[in-house]
């Protein structure tokens, strides 16, 4: 990860797209971070006031068992970001570790590729169902599913980068100059191969919010009464025709997050290809 963090300036991020993405993610993330300051309601405290509309007392109204929706959405954002920021680095590290392993020998490369194929053979949601079939619903399976699903993305990206850079003449020159295989890999090839990983990181964050939402929506993710954006959405489904306002706040938060991360990824990608 040190390599990822010490990269040079990224002019792509300062483009209109990148700034929009940063603003979207920033606004939602800050709201989640300062949740205790923004609301005095306990996100899991029930009240008699069920399915109230937006008003002065409850900014966004209440849910079907009288919990304050504004508070639930803010804390839901916390849950989502906590899960994503745990799972994505784990997936990235594992993916990169496998890619490095693949760089050691032909045989290792074959095995690692087959492993990636195997993971990819399970579309994300099928993977989610499989993991929850084993562990039962909860936040941990969500983290595991996200991490698992991200492994091939990071791994393939880095593997491809290593393969391309290793054939460049400067890598050859380093070998002729007497550098060991490890030194060529670490000092020459890797620094030139990691840029796409940063883009992949932003994509992965977007996907992570997506997976959390989908799993909680299906009832195999974060367990009630703990709030998460997906679980609030899932609850709201039953009242879609009678209380549409119930769905709109979590819908907006999820959209802002996934879209924001996607925009950041695009801006970074453009900055790299420049």
């Amino acid at each position: 990860m040190a390599l990822l963090l010490t990269r040079r300036r990224r002019p792509g991020l300062l483009s209109a797209r990148g700034l929009t993405g940063l603003a979207l993610v920033g606004a939602v993330a800050l709201a989640g971070l300062f949740a205790p300051l923004l609301t005095s309601y306990d996100p899991v405290a029930q009240s008699d006031l069920a399915l109230a509309g937006p008003g002065a007392d409850h900014l966004l109204g209440t849910d079907d068992i009288g919990r304050d929706l504004f508070s639930r959405v803010l804390y839901g954002i916390r849950t989502d970001l906590l899960i994503s920021f745990t799972a994505v680095p784990v997936g990235a590290l594992l993916g990169c570790a496998f890619a490095l392993l693949a760089a050691t020998s032909r045989w290792a490369d074959m095995s690692v590729q087959r492993l990636f194929d195997l993971i990819l053979a399970f579309p994300g949601l099928i993977l989610a169902l499989a993991v929850t079939a084993i562990l039962g619903p909860g936040a941990l399976p969500v983290v595991i599913v996200i991490a698992l699903a991200e492994i091939p993305g990071f791994g393939r990206q880095l593997r491809a980068g290593i393969l391309v850079q290793r054939e460049r003449e400067y890598a050859l020159a380093a070998r002729v100059g007497g550098a060991s295989r490890l030194r060529v890999l670490v000092r020459h090839v890797l620094p030139n191969a990691v840029d796409p990983l940063i883009v992949q990181g932003a994509v992965a964050m977007s996907v992570a919010v997506f997976i959390e939402g989908a799993m909680s929506f299906l009832g195999v993710g974060v367990r009630p009464p703990e709030p998460s954006l997906g679980s609030i959405l899932s609850q709201s489904m039953a009242y879609l025709s009678t209380h549409p306002a119930f769905a709109i706040a979590p819908l907006t938060a999820v959209t802002a997050l996934v879209l924001g991360f996607a925009l950041i990824a695009e801006a970074l990608n453009k900055g790299i290809r420049r």
Binding site: E169, Y170, A173, V176
Partner: protein, 537 residues
């Protein structure tokens, strides 16, 4: 040859101007690439445009038919084709001119042909674009064209795809496409640069024949004076977006007027000039190669590539202080040999014995062809040059810094530039950095794989001079690999000629050129472009 392709040479050949370019200006955004180019091309004439990279010659060619890549655009001047200004023509009217009255061929025949279309489909596209809708007539014309450009057995090859032809044949197909609608002008943009010398000669001969038989005027753009000398009656020299000199090829080559033309001509290595390598090193060899073999296994996702024998038993010796030139065309195995010498490829059989003092891994170093990809873009020049020192654990930090400064001075660069990245250097400067890196661990053998072929001639001469100087001062033995016989003769004591993985002839540099023994050496010599004018009428 059918009567439709062989138009009689026009009676007004060489007098009536078919294409008249006046004060043409092209800009890419704010940057002006062509600043007021004027010339005229007479019907049935051949005009060569020569210049170094970035001089605006290819941009000029593309601007004639308004085919500039974005954001390039014509900002001024006119391109008159029989009086009509192409620069001001609407797009659809210009389309009717492209391929019909003015046709073009390009540098790389592989990428210039569509990989998913057959040869017949290519020709049909060209004919259909200008209203030849009769299918049977199109096919007949296709066969006629392939026959004209010398594709053997055209009927059997119509359904083949571009990748099934050799490089030279692909360029012939490109020419057939260009001639499909009997254009008055054929623009050839570096048509032989991607080809081997023997193939280059055949393509130039074909262009010459077409010019004579069909009366098509040819505008030939190239960086290679030798190519112009062989095939163009008139010559135009470009520099920095401007025409510095134009006139009859014979006159300019023998009596250049403009200082730039003089410099350019002086820098072109000439095959007739004797070797400049001094002395006659012999005695105990420094490096001995015996029976070296290397075969690359077949590969590819669909298992389509067959095993390739790159080296089929190569024997060589290299003496201390000697320059051994190795010439050969692409695929002759010369690059594989270079990589085997520095230990990047392990040979399947045979031995490479280093008989000098010290560790061969340190004492044999290499200079690469591509000055762009051979330097790590993420490192500073100082780091790049210090890498071999670190790898071989030579000196501490301060000693390495001193050595880097010393090496930079030695290759003619300012030591203060050590903390800059490669991207802030020109191609020639980068090649100097590559040389400094190779010299860092004090090698006794320097393997140079096409060290100057990616550089402009004037820069080429400087780098060759630098290598010669370093060899004299440091007593290096040099293996100098190149496809250009003239350069190789200039720098080498001895020359080895490689062909299909074998050394077919080795000998004294001057003797090998003046009195070649092997058939292949003779072919290679005959194909090498020379600065003697072939076409004066």
């Amino acid at each position: 040859m059918s009567s439709t392709t062989v138009a009689p040479a026009p009676a007004d050949r060489g007098t009536r101007s078919v294409l008249e370019v006046r004060d043409l200006r092209v800009a890419f955004g704010e940057q002006e690439a062509v600043s007021g180019v004027s010339f005229s091309l007479a019907a049935g004439d051949t005009l060569g445009v020569v210049g170094e990279s970035g001089c605006g010659k290819s941009t000029t060619a593309l601007a004639l038919l308004r085919m500039l890549p974005s954001p390039g655009r014509v900002t001024g001047g006119s391109v008159l084709l029989d009086g009509a200004d192409l620069a001001a023509l609407p797009e659809e009217a210009l389309r009717a001119v492209r391929g019909k009255r003015i046709a073009m061929i390009f540098q790389d025949p592989m990428s210039s042909l569509n990989p998913v279309l057959t040869v017949e489909q290519h020709l049909h596209e060209a004919l259909l674009a200008h209203g030849r809708t009769d299918k049977a007539a199109r096919r007949a014309r296709a066969l006629e064209l392939l026959d004209l450009v010398g594709i053997p057995d055209p009927a059997a090859r119509l359904r083949d795809h571009p990748h099934q032809f050799s490089g030279g044949q692909r360029q012939r197909i490109m020419i057939a496409l260009a001639l499909a609608n009997e254009p008055e002008v054929l623009i050839a943009d570096e048509p032989t640069t991607a080809l081997d010398a023997t193939i280059q000669r055949q393509i130039l001969q074909l262009l010459d024949r077409i010019n004579r038989e069909t009366g098509t005027a040819i505008l030939l753009i190239t960086h290679d004076m030798g190519v112009i000398a062989q095939s163009c009656r008139r010559l135009l020299v470009m520099h920095d977006g401007e025409v510095v000199e134009q006139g009859r090829t014979a006159e300019i080559l023998t009596d250049p007027q403009h200082p730039y033309t003089k410099r350019l001509l002086a820098a072109v290595p000439r095959l007739e000039e004797p070797s400049r390598a001094a002395g006659r090193p012999d005695g105990t060899p420094l490096l001995e190669v015996t029976g070296l073999r290397k075969t690359f296994p077949g590969s590819g996702r669909f298992g389509r590539r067959r095993p390739v024998t790159a080296l089929g038993g190569v024997d060589l010796v290299l003496h201390p202080g000697e320059t051994l030139g190795i010439v050969g065309e692409s695929g002759s195995g010369k690059s594989t040999l270079a990589r085997a010498l520095v230990g990047v490829h392990t040979a399947d059989a045979g031995t490479i014995r280093y008989l000098g003092p010290g560790d061969p891994a340190r004492r044999i170093q290499m200079v690469f062809q591509d000055p762009y990809s051979s330097l790590n873009p993420r490192m500073t020049v100082g780091q790049i040059i210090a890498e071999p020192l670190i790898a071989h654990r030579l000196g501490d930090r301060a000693a390495r810094a001193a050595r880097v400064a010393d090496l930079l001075t030695r290759v003619g660069l300012d030591p203060a530039t050590a903390d800059r990245h490669p991207r802030s250097f020109s191609g020639g400067q980068r090649q100097r950095i590559g040389i400094a890196r190779a010299l860092a661990p004090e090698p006794s053998v320097l393997v140079c794989d096409e060290p100057v072929s990616a550089l402009d001639v004037s820069v080429q001469a400087q780098v060759v001079d630098l290598l010669a100087e370093l060899q004299r001062e440091l007593g290096l033995a040099v293996v100098f690999i190149a496809h250009d016989l003239a350069v190789v003769r200039q720098v080498s004591h001895r020359i080895a000629v490689m062909h299909r993985g074998l050394v077919v002839e080795t000998g004294d540099a001057d003797q090998l050129v003046t009195d070649p023994q092997h058939e292949y050496t003779r072919t290679l010599l005959a194909a090498a472009p020379r600065l003697t004018v072939v076409r004066s009428t």
